[in-house]
Symmetry: C2
Subunit: 518 residues, 2 copies
Amino acid sequence: MAGTSLRRRRSGGHSGKALRQGGAVIEQMPWRIPRNTDRPTEPLTEEGVAAIHDGAMRILEEIGIEFLNDEAVAILKQAGCTVDGHTVRMGRDFVMEMLAKAPSSFAITPRNPDRRVTIGDGHMLFINVSSPPNYWDLHSGKVPGTRAQCRDLLKLTQYFNCIHIAGGYPVEPVDVHPSVRHLDVLFDKLTLTDKVAHAYSLGRERVEDVMEMVRIAGGLSHDEFEAAPRMYTNINSTSPLKHDIPMLDGWMRCVRRGQAVVVTPFTLAGAMAPVTMAGAVAQSLAEALCAIALAQYIRPGAPCVLGTFTSNVDMKSGAPAFGTPEYMRATQMTGQMARFYGLPLRASGSCAANVPDGQAMWETSNALWSAVQAGAHMVYHAAGWLEGGLIASPEKFIMDCEMLQQIQRYFDPALVATTPDDIALEAIREVGSDGHFFGCAHTQERYATAFYQPFLSDWRNYESWSLDGASWTVERAHRVFKEIVNGFEAPPMEEDIREELEAFVERRKAEGGAPTDF
Amino acid sequence: MAGTSLRRRRSGGHSGKALRQGGAVIEQMPWRIPRNTDRPTEPLTEEGVAAIHDGAMRILEEIGIEFLNDEAVAILKQAGCTVDGHTVRMGRDFVMEMLAKAPSSFAITPRNPDRRVTIGDGHMLFINVSSPPNYWDLHSGKVPGTRAQCRDLLKLTQYFNCIHIAGGYPVEPVDVHPSVRHLDVLFDKLTLTDKVAHAYSLGRERVEDVMEMVRIAGGLSHDEFEAAPRMYTNINSTSPLKHDIPMLDGWMRCVRRGQAVVVTPFTLAGAMAPVTMAGAVAQSLAEALCAIALAQYIRPGAPCVLGTFTSNVDMKSGAPAFGTPEYMRATQMTGQMARFYGLPLRASGSCAANVPDGQAMWETSNALWSAVQAGAHMVYHAAGWLEGGLIASPEKFIMDCEMLQQIQRYFDPALVATTPDDIALEAIREVGSDGHFFGCAHTQERYATAFYQPFLSDWRNYESWSLDGASWTVERAHRVFKEIVNGFEAPPMEEDIREELEAFVERRKAEGGAPTDF
């Protein structure tokens, strides 16, 4: 086949603009939000759904959740919940009444409105790895994260069209002081990417600063910023059964200003949750739903997402495991429950592997396919995560993007179309039993777009591959990483907006940034 | 947790016997046939199923299939099909009447009746890689296959409880002359394994010799051998639209003697089949269903399996691609059609990667999960395949078995159970918001079997893993391979049976084995 002309043809059309903007290092798929057309995998019977719901409700009614944030406790008390110190118990009627106010889908619009995403409604959004304190690449090995590495990973986040949201810090830049880290990273994120941004709920100043920076980057008035979601936060409960002060503070701040909120209990069965998966899921739901109930009480209709991060520990060592069979089933069960509650679902790509090897891929593939099967709408850590979240890796990021593009292509309705043109009876008749389909018109008219074209897989035979250096996947990924970063062009930003952002960062640094207690 | 005692406990019980028999190198799951409890992923609407069915039937009715085997043509003519030279056209009424005679499930019993497998009825069986002419391991690189390597891979086939059937030659021993190769490999297979065996349909002598050797190994009379399936063959059509002489010959021989038959068209969209996936599936079905119709006409109720191996080519190079999004959808669509026709389904594990790296794992994982989603009953090449089937690799075999065990565990109903014990409300109450689940009774009673325990994944943190040599998955797999092969103990075989097998091989070698035309 005419490979060269095929490549040329592909870099035109929809993908042309994106490629030119980002530097056409690889032939990637265009920006598009995949829709999950599969019927979800539902391991629970109707009785199973009822049993887990009842378990979650009884946890909230009988055992209660510890809300360490006094303001949240006061609000829930006012709402009629039973308060005992910091322990809040809420009846299922209240919870279900609040959940009924939550939208089943909503949009978030970043500074580039073309990057607007809808959360829910069958969409499936992929988000970069977030929050690892360490970095690994093929040359450096494992090292503490730096701002330079964080910038590189933000460039990958922007470059890949299959990454739809710029989530948390793709690696923690531990060379930047925590008091001003959010200012530097958000400046980098808002200038290097134009996708939806995120604020860590780690104290009032950080959340407020990020909201202000997102507002400035979008060229928005305060009213415009608050009129519809422009960004989001993600909080984790402190399992078992606890929500801490700053997370709830950030949660409530975002809710009040109309921004989106995701709550993701990190419930490792056998450690912070029961050893049985249904128990771990029930506890996770209880921890998440009470936060969503709080949000809906504060602002009915607040855009909320139910997150799942239920996995298991290694019973030999206590180490967390990811992408396991148990993890897959927990994700699918939580998907069923999210549909029961009418809430959008967040899941994750994840693995326990220390390097981007075979184990990393089967664990991540398991995690990603369970997100598909669960009908997850947001997939955190979809690219770049290693060592149970302790390492961010650019090679892993690139390898994961190859898998994400395949999932996106998997959802293309063309693959399962059954029109007469697809059944191709006349082509089959024309070729007969002695011919070949390469040459027939039916093939010639379709070959350029008929199949998924990987950017990282090497489909050459062993000998060609060997003559060309016999590169293993991780080595090819390293080269792609370097090429993307070296050729990266940031998305456009108006000069006055950039200056306003710079001035904000400078002022807030002069004021000392966010307080730190160490 | 008490890791050591946990390991000891696990090697007792069900798995104990298998471990002692095979040498307890690793802690693997016990022999068990997984049941696929998931609702299949069905990308086709009812109209889509009807459209593909109609396409397949029109291929058979209007275009016809070339049957190069004169005997098969004569039989089909007698059955009322329209014959024009070697081209056979058959009406949908005849095809559907014949398919209605085929069982939706059946058993095959090998020499060890404990290794009996049921094909169909929700079971999911995994089969070793079959037929690559080359071998790759971490030390040898790619080399032509030998009998010694073939024996090593047969040892892995026997050792792993997650491999249920000993399919074709796990690597072609090209150091054994083709005239006697089937005698040597079948002797090795029948002495090194006690699982269901397979005969290549590559000429009368080979099929008859293998049937005879399986009969001898099972200690069966001729009548006993023919009373129920003891082995099977797998044939491939010569796509497009052709069945060759020896494949049909072997097909009919096995059918007449009551053995199981699998027909698997190898339809690469864009090459031997239409570039559109529905067209490739329709053509594949036509090629398979006419062989099954022939089998049912010869022997109503013959145990038949519908195989799928529909993938796509790389449109740049023409190279076959595997585990692609298109491959996944074709597998799922064929699964829907298999249920429509009431036939058991064979799918495959596969990849285009040249070495067991990241690409190998994401492609194989895609292929295996699509087999799950399709409701496939037999999964060929489930362990050990590389380079589009041109390489068999022991490391890849071991890595794939880790994935297969996870799929097996994924189907364990315990993972999604929702009894009050699973919801664990009292444990959650007991631990409260300040405790930990490690210590509670609910965990202690269950931790030994609560979670899947991998034998190859390394879940230690980076530093522990690094201090212990920083082995990547493929290196760990190589070590496991060597340990298994070195410690291998063959399953028991009565001495007189072994002698009878040896005598048969000796006699057939003296007679010249099978004729070769080169």
